[in-house]
Symmetry: C2
Subunit: 208 residues, 2 copies
Amino acid sequence: MNLLESLNWRYATKKFSNRKVSAVDIDKIIEATNLSASSTGLQPYRLFLIENDELRKKLGEGSFNAQIAESSHLLVFAAFEKVTAEHIDNYINHIAAERNIPVDSLADFKNALVHGILGRTDEVNFNWAARQAYIALGTAMVAAADLQIDTTPMEGFDADKFDELLNLKGKGLKSVVTLAIGYRHEDDIFANFKKVRLPKAEFATVIE
Amino acid sequence: MNLLESLNWRYATKKFSNRKVSAVDIDKIIEATNLSASSTGLQPYRLFLIENDELRKKLGEGSFNAQIAESSHLLVFAAFEKVTAEHIDNYINHIAAERNIPVDSLADFKNALVHGILGRTDEVNFNWAARQAYIALGTAMVAAADLQIDTTPMEGFDADKFDELLNLKGKGLKSVVTLAIGYRHEDDIFANFKKVRLPKAEFATVIE
């Protein structure tokens, strides 16, 4: 399948089969997601991949999204509540190490980050971090569809409970969106519904 | 190239050549972007695709991002400032028409949308709409890379000026992020820099 066919094939799966996604394929989805672009390259969010049945069951209790418990794997996207000088330092040091260049040669870039990011409120930075996580969510869904693996993006979950059960607060993180991963159940009637999208001309205005 | 190769091939292009992206390829990128998932399927954002040289020049004036003017096409993602009952009505009517089902059969779904979305503040809904646009941004970058077309996502632009020049306010929209599209210039030194991403284990925590 080419990319457009894969995107037409995918849908927000309501009912998953009990078939597990292989470790190799999960790894490919994570790798693709890690390759997502983020503003300034800072990647101000983290992923939590939950295969553990019991934990997924607990996370899903009380949610209208049965997919949290019933999928093969659950991916939780968590954004940093605060972006700190340490995040920027670590990032700059990491670039220098990866590219084998002196940290000093990145001084201008670092100053731009410090000035641009640390001058904003924590709330602005959290929303910014969450948006970067949503770019990654987009990549993860495409990467899964490319492998003919089903997904369901979900905002309908108890973020406080997720943060507690995954100990996100201790890491300065807050869950923002989740993605159930698995294979569609043959009984999922939603698989056959016609995909509804805006007419192209209404979605995108072209200025030639 | 497979998807991972395409994602490794892509980078935030700093300098574009003057080669134009074909109308056929631009159309594929728009179509893929329109196939992006959005919460409840509402697609609370719109795209503006600007090919016009003069307009791109005006939009790019005073920005440190030369790519606004120098790319082949510029894609602007704009989110609705308010999500209204009319948006929901139009969406429900559109589903009914596309799936050839009575509008009444969607009453429960419509109520859930009205209750869930219209009960929130405009600010919450705008941030929510912007996040959906970022999912689409993620799709657009992957779709372009899949066609070996370069892109640069940019948050560094004068949103007020963009909104004015594109008459977004009159449409209830606000620009949130842009994507320059084109082909990398052979002199763009950034193309050869090693891509820096978090080590996989730091990016994603696996709970087996």
